[in-house]
Symmetry: C2
Subunit: 226 residues, 2 copies
DNA sequence: GGGACTATATATAACTT
DNA sequence: TAAGTTATATATAGTCC
């Protein structure tokens, strides 16, 4: 699709590799956008440039939404009732496969807490995870047709809060801001004005500095931008 | 790009919409593949057909991997040391923005536990979440340069296990299987032989039946395949 | 419904500024 | 070296089977 036909292998010249990336990136985003409009479907696209720069696209504004749909694809089993034993057998087989898939995927649900780089972030993580565990209890109870003992349900929060105290950390709760429909965004954030989070404290800055020192020891800062 | 130029809006005829989807889907996957090869970069793509059928592509085999890279983009702050107060000011601003972004994104880390459809799945969730919380404590401690009280750290697991018991649920631990590098997969799973998970028990099947009844009451089973 | 065909619209590699 | 131009390669809308 040009003066010459390119061989389908890595372009060795770094400059032309970057140029080709820039052009084709736009082409794919256009294609993805067209597909989602013409066919009225969910499309998500994540691309990293050779220099590590991110470009993403999502038909409905959020890659996360579509990724969730990807992970939480409805189970084949929910389709209808089970009629006989053969039917049951077949559906069990499907379920077994689905189970493996689910286990595999849930590995990636697990937040990469190693990469937490602030105490505030950790707090947000914790908040979401505890609420998730809460709801797991409810799911399990529902699945088994039981009622949960509300007293025990509350127990977990108290314990975790206690642990938080042990680490001498104060937690805050935030409102999560919901963006409207924005389809494509590049890495550049200049000009965007997002509602601010909680005010940053001195202790937080200290923690951040300490973190930076730690990271730099492991991997010295080298950022090559094309 | 055809006999006629299409208007860039939803194709109203359902049949041609599906046909167009099928053709363009292949085109985009090809483009994405070419981009990743030519430019040696990470590319991930998730698409749903008008009928809800999933197609995905990932240059390195796993959409999840690239999604993680998307979510865990390294923070601008890690680049280098802070030199003076203006520098600090500027970087704090960046951090504040990043913080908002992170909060926003972490909403999506939160597993959609409403969609849990088996007791086993719930167990897997719980396992990952508790380990994540564990590591959050460690992260926090590291950030603040403190040591964690190991006794309190163990406390949480005991409490959660207790809650599990309250719901009369037995948990199992699994090995998660790691696939090799497979780039594209369509919804169709026939023919693939995945290692099996834990054997399904009768009580599990009962729970599943109950779940199915529950789901069907809320939304009757209707699957229209193109 | 799922391919094969082909006229036409698009994307883009190399070139130019 | 980034932005615009042009010749060519590709993708695909409509069609037929």
């Amino acid at each position: 699709m040009g003066r010459k036909k390119l061989a389908m292998r890595r372009i060795e010249n770094p400059t032309s590799r970057q140029v080709t990336y820039a052009k084709r990136k736009d082409g794919i985003v256009k294609k993805a956008s067209e597909l989602s409009v013409l066919c009225d479907t969910d499309v998500a696209l994540i691309m990293f440039s050779p220099a590590g720069r991110l470009t993403n696209f999502a038909s409905n504004g959020r890659v996360e939404d579509i990724f969730l749909r990807f992970v939480d694809r409805p189970d084949e089993l929910r389709g209808g009732p089970i009629h006989n034993e053969e039917d049951l057998e077949e559906k069990l087989e499907k379920l077994n496969r689905r189970q493996c898939e689910a286990q595999d995927k849930m590995r990636y649900y697990e937040p990469d807490v190693e990469k937490i780089n602030s105490v505030l972030e950790a707090g947000v993580y914790r908040q979401f995870l505890t609420s998730a565990i809460h709801r797991i209890q409810l799911s399990k109870a529902k699945l088994l047709g039981n009622e949960l003992d509300p007293q025990r349900t509350e127990n977990i929060e108290a314990t975790i809060d206690h642990m938080e105290d042990a680490a001498s950390v104060t937690d805050h709760s935030f409102n999560v801001n919901q963006n409207g429909m924005s389809s494509m965004r590049d890495e550049d954030l200049s000009g965007t004005s997002l509602p601010m989070g909680p005010h940053l404290s001195l202790s937080f800055i200290e923690a951040q500095r300490q973190w930076n020192r730690l990271s730099n020891e492991l991997s010295p800062p080298s950022f090559d931008n094309y």
